[in-house]
């Protein structure tokens, strides 16, 4: 598999020579009762400081597993990183000691989870949970940490932060809880934030507010952001580049606007066509036929071939490499030219 050409760096002018995070040929598998599930099969992507990478894919496409591997919170066992490198500031995190990695977590790389209600500890006050970051990583006293927690809550625009700092997660609304998750990730001003479906559990109106807040804070701190989502609408507004994942591989990667205009992979095309549109009101909604593959039995050749309208014999035998399609664009399709063309 070819490594993606880093011309996408042109989108973020201030980007240093080495990317902030560089995932190289990552393979992750899970041992299950039904056999070995190959969740991630050679993922390559990179993020620069101040840049937003959106990772798009269905459930089970390996987008969250990749994030967990970066974060070092993969359940091992049953999970296992079989090969690959995860370079952070040019250093491979997979060869670091447990203690070295722990010091990066929260401090240099932070994560925002999907469902803040279950991701926050129900029996500890939000002030305690926010303050814990400062107490553990910076050795602050309880009192100082609480002041910092209030400051953080103000920063993510939670009203009456001072009065609410001792409240518990269940006493906040969904949007406010997600703001607390964001505040927690921002606490130590990390270089990279991984947001795993940060708005999926929220109302549509609140989704926009939370996304805007996240984008604004990211600009302010010039952090790198990996936005994991299956919501194409969210992606268009905030992402710089997109990586589309299918069955543990990146099938297409592109700067954000080009992918909407001219997808170079039949899967991406299918995804875009299945968005409901006002001008097609009354017509049947397009859906990609079939189901995502069982990860213990990924089809040979291109994993998408059983569902692909363009599949030929070669798709069933040869795994397509990520072809360079344009500047900063790649498509893992044997027929990318045809896909782009029509």
């Amino acid at each position: 598999m070819t490594v993606i050409d880093e011309t996408a760096g042109a989108l973020a002018p201030a980007a240093p020579a080495a990317p902030l995070l560089d995932v190289r040929d990552l393979h992750v598998e899970f041992r299950t009762r039904d056999g070995v599930a190959k969740a991630v099969n050679g993922v390559n992507y990179s993020v620069n400081a101040g840049e937003t990478l959106a990772v798009l894919g269905e459930s089970g496409s390996g987008k969250s597993v990749t994030a967990q591997a970066i974060m070092g919170i993969l359940d091992m066992p049953p999970g296992r990183i079989t090969s690959g490198e995860i370079l952070f500031h040019g250093k491979d995190m997979l060869t670091m000691s447990g203690e070295e990695r722990r010091k990066i977590r929260g401090r240099k790389i932070a994560m925002i989870f999907q469902d803040a209600l279950s991701a926050l500890n129900p029996v500890l006050s939000v002030g305690y949970q926010l303050g814990e970051m400062f107490r553990v990583h910076q050795g602050m006293s309880r009192k100082q940490a609480k002041l910092k927690a209030i400051e953080l809550m103000d920063r993510v625009r939670i009203p009456a932060a001072k009065e609410r700092v001792n409240d518990y997660p269940h006493q906040f609304s969904g949007g406010m809880r997600q703001r607390i998750m964001i505040a927690m990730a921002l606490a130590l001003e990390p270089d990279l934030i991984i947001a795993d479906e940060p708005t999926t559990a929220l109302d549509v109106t609140v989704q926009a507010q939370v996304m805007d807040l996240l984008a604004e804070l990211q600009r302010e701190f010039t952090m790198g952001l990996i936005l994991i989502t299956h919501d194409l609408g969210v992606v268009a507004d905030v992402a710089d580049k997109i990586a589309v994942m299918y069955a543990g591989r990146i099938v297409e990667t592109a700067p954000v606007h080009e992918i909407y205009r001219r997808p170079a992979h039949p899967y991406t095309k299918g995804l875009l066509q299945s968005i409901p549109r006002l001008d097609r009101k009354g017509q049947e909604l397009y859906a990609i036929k079939g189901l995502p593959p069982n990860l213990t039995r990924i089809p040979s050749g291109c994993a998408f071939n059983p569902r692909c309208p363009m599949a030929q014999d070669v798709c069933r035998t040869d795994v397509p490499v990520l072809h360079q399609v344009g500047p900063g664009r790649g498509s893992a399709c044997h027929f990318w030219k045809e896909t782009l063309g029509d």
């Binding site: 974060m71 919170i73 722990r102 010091k103 990066i104 977590r105 929260g106 401090r107 932070a110 994560m111 989870f113 469902d115 279950s118 991701a119 926050l120 500890n121 129900p122 029996v123 500890l124 006050s125 814990e132 970051m133 553990v136 990583h137 518990y168 269940h170 927690m184």
Partner: protein, 307 residues
């Protein structure tokens, strides 16, 4: 909160009346305390009638119960078979049993939670299976068997501890009986903790705690254990009453002159005031422990609100 406590206290009244009435009926209705006083000889009918009158036994049972309750509330628990006031027996027996309970409770809580945490963190591995097998064994063997075995081996054969408890029940003598008394509860605590830890260690907030870069020790103690102990604390609280009342067998084996011993004597000599008096106090302890646990629940889990 205040209203909740008042409501709970009011709810205790019928429970208290119900349990004491049951005990009262069972003890007074099912035996003849006057006949028991005279042992093998048949009492002189006139004397028996006089005693019955003195002890208020010539009235219908519900009236007897009311009379008895009235006496209790003035602090008069009646006299034991030896002629001592029952309150005097209580004064010596409860402190001893309380000491035994404290020792047993500490063993139960520390060893039970420790074993449960170990098993829960190492699910499916050797330590887990080991704890599981151990708890099964402890639950399956009756207390009088473990009691006598430990007394014989640890106390007599190896001489590691005193096989019987000396007067005044010093804590050093109470460790062995404490282990025996705590045994079964300890096994339950271990299993409960294991299940709770295993369940919570898959929770999302635990993944968050790891993602925050917290040291493993902190993840386990602050985030995992804090949540996992909620059901365990409930069990421990209700078990205090059980430990105090359940010491009959243990106290007999180790010759401890506590509540269990006095109850046993009371039953043996068919002396109603002793049995009913002690049980009444145990019921009160049980009810108080339960209320305390319910209040503690709200402290441990802020999602619980009392209205």
């Amino acid at each position: 909160m205040g209203r909740y406590v008042i409501r709970r206290l009011l709810q205790m009244v019928p429970v208290f009346i119900g349990t004491t009435f049951l005990i009262f009926v069972m003890v007074y209705a099912l035996g003849d305390p006057v006949a028991a006083m005279f042992g093998d000889r048949a009492p002189d009918p006139a004397t028996a009638a006089q005693i019955r009158h003195d002890l208020y036994l010539d009235h219908p049972l519900p009236l007897q119960y009311l009379h008895y309750m009235g006496q209790i509330f003035t602090g008069n628990f009646g006299k034991a078979a030896t002629g001592q006031p029952v309150t005097e027996l209580m004064g010596t027996a409860f402190p001893v049993t309380l000491r035994l309970t404290i020792v047993a409770f500490a063993i139960e809580a520390i060893a039970g939670i420790g074993l449960g945490l170990l098993a829960g963190l190492r699910r499916g591995r050797f330590a887990d299976s080991g704890v599981l097998a151990f708890t099964l064994l402890v639950v399956a063997i009756p207390t009088f068997v473990t009691g006598y075995l430990l007394q014989y081996f640890v106390g007599v054969k190896w001489g590691l501890a005193n096989p019987a408890v000396a007067d005044g029940a010093p804590f050093s003598d109470l460790i062995l009986p404490g282990v025996v008394l705590a045994g079964v509860s300890l096994a339950y605590v271990a299993r409960l903790t294991r299940t709770s830890v295993a369940e919570n260690s898959r929770a999302d907030y635990l993944r968050t705690a790891v993602a925050k870069g917290l040291p493993r020790r902190r993840v386990v103690t602050v985030h995992l254990l804090r949540n996992s102990l909620i059901p365990v604390v409930t069990f421990l609280g209700t078990d205090i009453g059980g430990l105090m009342a359940g010491a009959v067998v243990t106290e007999r084996i180790f010759n401890i002159h506590g509540v269990g011993y006095q109850l046993y004597q009371g039953i043996l000599r068919q002396n109603p005031p002793t049995v009913v008096g002690f049980v009444t106090i145990l019921v009160l302890i049980f009810l108080a422990a339960n209320l305390l646990v319910d209040l503690l629940y709200a402290v441990l889990d802020p999602r619980i609100r009392y209205a």
